[in-house]
């Protein structure tokens, strides 16, 4: 997807585009590509024809051939009356919870407070599982569970940084998919309403089983509030062990953020979890094995390095959903949602290597192992809203109109996307091979490792140069001051430097998306242009230092 002019649309993107389910920026890229590419346009029309077939099938077959309702439709008013009577017969404290909020607020505040306290006391005594109790139990289960990394897929409704959304929600971004984080968020709400559903028919992991057989149940906990940016948040807990498997925050501006445990993503029928979908993971990769393995008859750390180098050679370490793991004496390479052409390239690159097993998921196959990732506290920034609007207007004027602004944004965001892919890859490499493990390597292996890292840095530097060249004159014209000289980096190993490079890249990404209006925020700031130039300078210094450490 990195080069929209020379590559065709990825499989699956077309339908999401037609269905209006792509983020605005990606949709714009697809639209631009379609204007230029006849092949993709023809395929898109083909897909549109299949959509039309579906609707014809609905109209001509389902609507006419499915059996008519055997009886006349009932008059629901009798059912309504039954519900009214049933609710009227409920105890007073229970009925209190049914009051519409508008009526609740119109009642005298003291009386309401007393009633709510009374209702709370009553509810606490009921045997049904209440939100606070459920969360308490889930937190206790969390604490009892062995600590280990989880891979969490984070998606947002609009192209907004996850860190910004978590910050706006006052929700812990370090470990979003946990009962503790949810509970902390919930506890700070001045006003809230909880709903709990004990869903025996929870569909997570249900696919592929015959209908009607017992399936893994879930508690669906949903808390809504009338205050703050977040309208509601939900957390799905697995009934068996109260493990959080999915969470979602809904914002009042219709944006949302969803975080899903990848081990629970349904994949049974098609054998393809959705790990490959959506944006790059926000979380870092962790080493795939605990320590270096001595060379021998089975695969060693050296073999793993060779595999990574081969994948790096074909660019398969830049966001492709390919996992590499040293396990059971083999280097296991697996992938889900990898295109057929990419699979062929990977096979060509790896098939001649000893101790390497390559397996891509096909429909009906078992899910591929997913690489564990550890949580990370995302940096939090406040982005301006009114100031950015003004800034974007000025930016448009400076660039010569909206169309020019669009082109400029696209170009710079493409550079940034490519830079982020490199920053992720560099950090993944640093986390996979620690300084100690690197010291234990043969000189040849060390050379291979350093070469890969240097290539990522060099590509990142090129992208940054492009961004600086495009942004500096424009931002300076908007009043950006020359950034102060960056502090010399304090890290002493390239591995630590890779982490710093990643953080600097994220900062650039956040500031850039704010300046270009891709992200909305709260606090106005006139310093954005200066801050962005300063962040770019910081990133460059970190890259230079990292490079010099690699050269030693």
């Amino acid at each position: 997807m990195s080069n929209w002019h020379s590559q065709h649309l990825e499989d699956g993107l077309a339908l999401r585009y037609l269905d209006g389910e792509l983020p605005a920026r990606k949709a714009r890229q697809v639209r631009k590509h379609l204007e230029a590419c006849w092949q993709c346009r023809a395929e898109m029309e083909d897909l549109q024809t299949t959509v039309a077939d579906c609707m014809r099938y609905r109209k001509q077959v389902l609507a006419t051939q499915l059996p008519e309702p055997p009886n006349a439709w009932a008059d629901l008013s009798r059912g309504f009356d039954g519900i009214d009577v049933e609710m009227a017969a409920e105890p007073f404290w229970k009925r209190l919870t049914h009051f519409p909020p508008s009526l609740m607020w119109s009642a005298a505040s003291v009386a309401v407070a007393v009633l709510v306290c009374f209702a709370y006391y009553q509810l606490r005594e009921t045997p049904s599982v209440q939100a606070a109790v459920l969360l308490k139990r889930a937190i206790a289960a969390e604490q009892a569970r062995p600590a280990g990394p989880r891979r969490v897929h984070i998606r947002t409704g609009k192209p907004t940084s996850a860190a910004v959304l978590f910050a706006a929600a006052h929700y812990d971004s370090a470990d979003p998919l946990s009962a503790r984080s949810f509970s902390t968020w919930r506890a700070q709400l001045p006003e809230k309403r909880d709903e709990i559903e004990n869903a025996a028919s929870c569909s997570v992991g249900q696919t592929g089983r015959p209908l009607g057989t017992p399936v893994q149940g879930c508690y669906l906990l949903r808390t809504s509030t009338t205050t703050g940016d977040v309208a509601s948040a939900s957390l799905t807990l697995r009934t068996a062990d109260l493990l959080p498997i999915e969470g979602r925050l809904e914002f009042r501006d219709r944006n949302w953020i969803e975080f899903t445990d990848l081990s629970e993503v349904p994949d049974l029928h098609d054998g393809s979890p959705v790990a490959s979908l959506g944006e790059l993971p926000v979380r870092p990769a962790v080493p795939s094995r605990p320590a270096a393995i001595a060379p021998g008859e089975t695969a060693s750390i050296s073999d793993e390095l060779q595999v990574l180098s081969a994948l790096h050679g074909i660019g398969a370490d830049l966001g492709d959903p390919v996992e590499v793991k040293l396990s059971n004496g083999h280097v296991e390479v697996s992938g889900v949602g990898v295109s057929a052409e990419r699979q062929r390239q990977i096979h060509r690159a790896l098939d001649s290597m000893a101790h390497v097993e390559v397996a891509f998921s096909d429909p009906g196959a078992a899910p591929a192992p997913v690489q564990a990732t550890a949580p990370e506290r995302a940096p939090v920034f406040s982005a301006p809203s009114s100031a950015t609007t003004k800034l974007q207007t000025r930016l448009e004027q400076q660039l010569g109109g909206r169309a020019e602004m669009e082109r400029f944004s696209s170009r710079v965001l493409d550079w940034n996307e490519a830079a982020m892919a490199r920053a992720y890859a560099l950090r993944a490499l640093a986390q996979r091979f620690s300084q100690d493990q690197q010291s234990a390597m043969t000189p040849d292996d060390r050379r291979v490792l350093r070469q890969m890292a240097r290539e990522h840095i060099s590509a990142l530097q090129a992208h940054i140069t492009g961004m600086e060249a495009a942004l500096t004159p424009i931002l300076s014209a908007l009043g950006a001051a020359a950034p102060p000289p960056p502090q010399p980096p304090a890290f002493t190993s390239w591995q630590a430097g890779a982490e710093q490079v990643f953080r600097s890249s994220r900062r650039v990404e956040l500031l850039l998306s704010t300046v270009l209006g891709v992200t909305s925020g709260e606090k106005p700031s006139a310093d954005l242009p200066t801050n962005l130039l300063s962040a770019l300078a910081d990133l460059r210094v970190n890259l230079d230092q990292c490079n010099s450490l690699l050269a030693r």
């Binding site: 299949t50 055997p70 629901l76 519900i83 997570v204 009607g212 993503v265 393809s272 429909p363």
Partner: protein, 179 residues
């Protein structure tokens, strides 16, 4: 329609008004819900009863003060969950077998055209039947106009999983058309 319904449901919640609103919604959507429940495997009688039950539950939830931003999404989510519960009590799953032999799309068309269309739809139906359960559910809900997050909420899966199931379903259906 959703925006309008959401609007009317979020405002006046006086009892007669609320009943009128749910009744209006029932009349507009009951056939869609009934059809979805049939595709889920419920027999006609249970599908009809379940569809009615869903709207009574909607009324009860609204009466309790629940804020429902997207009634259509809510209805299909509850219909799906309730339908699965009912299905466990049903002795055999209803299987939809259209009668293509006696089926005519339009009397104005030529017999050759009729035959071709019949064969095409018959092939398409077989392809739909061969989709995985989850692909079928996503497809049927999408046909009913639900967006990916709404389908995800109804089925208890993530939005990206919905996209993937739909992609696979469409790829299979497209292959059938090309055959």
């Amino acid at each position: 329609m959703d925006g309008h319904l959401a609007q009317i449901l979020s405002h006046d919640r006086g009892l007669p008004a609320l009943q009128a609103q749910v009744t209006q919604l029932f009349e507009e959507c009951r056939e869609d819900v009934y059809r979805y429940l049939l595709t889920l495997g419920l027999d006609a009688a249970r599908a009809q009863e379940s569809a009615q039950e869903v709207f009574l539950r909607l009324y009860a939830s609204l009466k309790k003060g629940e804020q429902i931003q997207n009634p259509r999404g809510w209805i299909f989510r509850v219909a799906h969950n309730y339908g699965l519960k009912v299905l466990t009590r049903q002795s055999a799953e209803y299987s939809f077998e259209p009668d293509f032999e006696s089926w005519a799309t339009s009397p104005a068309r030529s017999p050759e055209h009729e035959l071709l269309e019949r064969e095409r739809m018959s092939r398409f139906h077989r392809a739909v039947e061969n989709l995985s359960e989850q692909q079928k559910r996503c497809l049927f809900l999408r046909m009913e106009g639900l967006r990916y997050p709404e389908i995800g909420s109804a089925l208890g899966i993530s939005t990206s999983a919905v996209g993937e199931f739909l992609r696979r379903a469409m790829a299979r259906l497209k292959r059938v058309r090309d055959e």
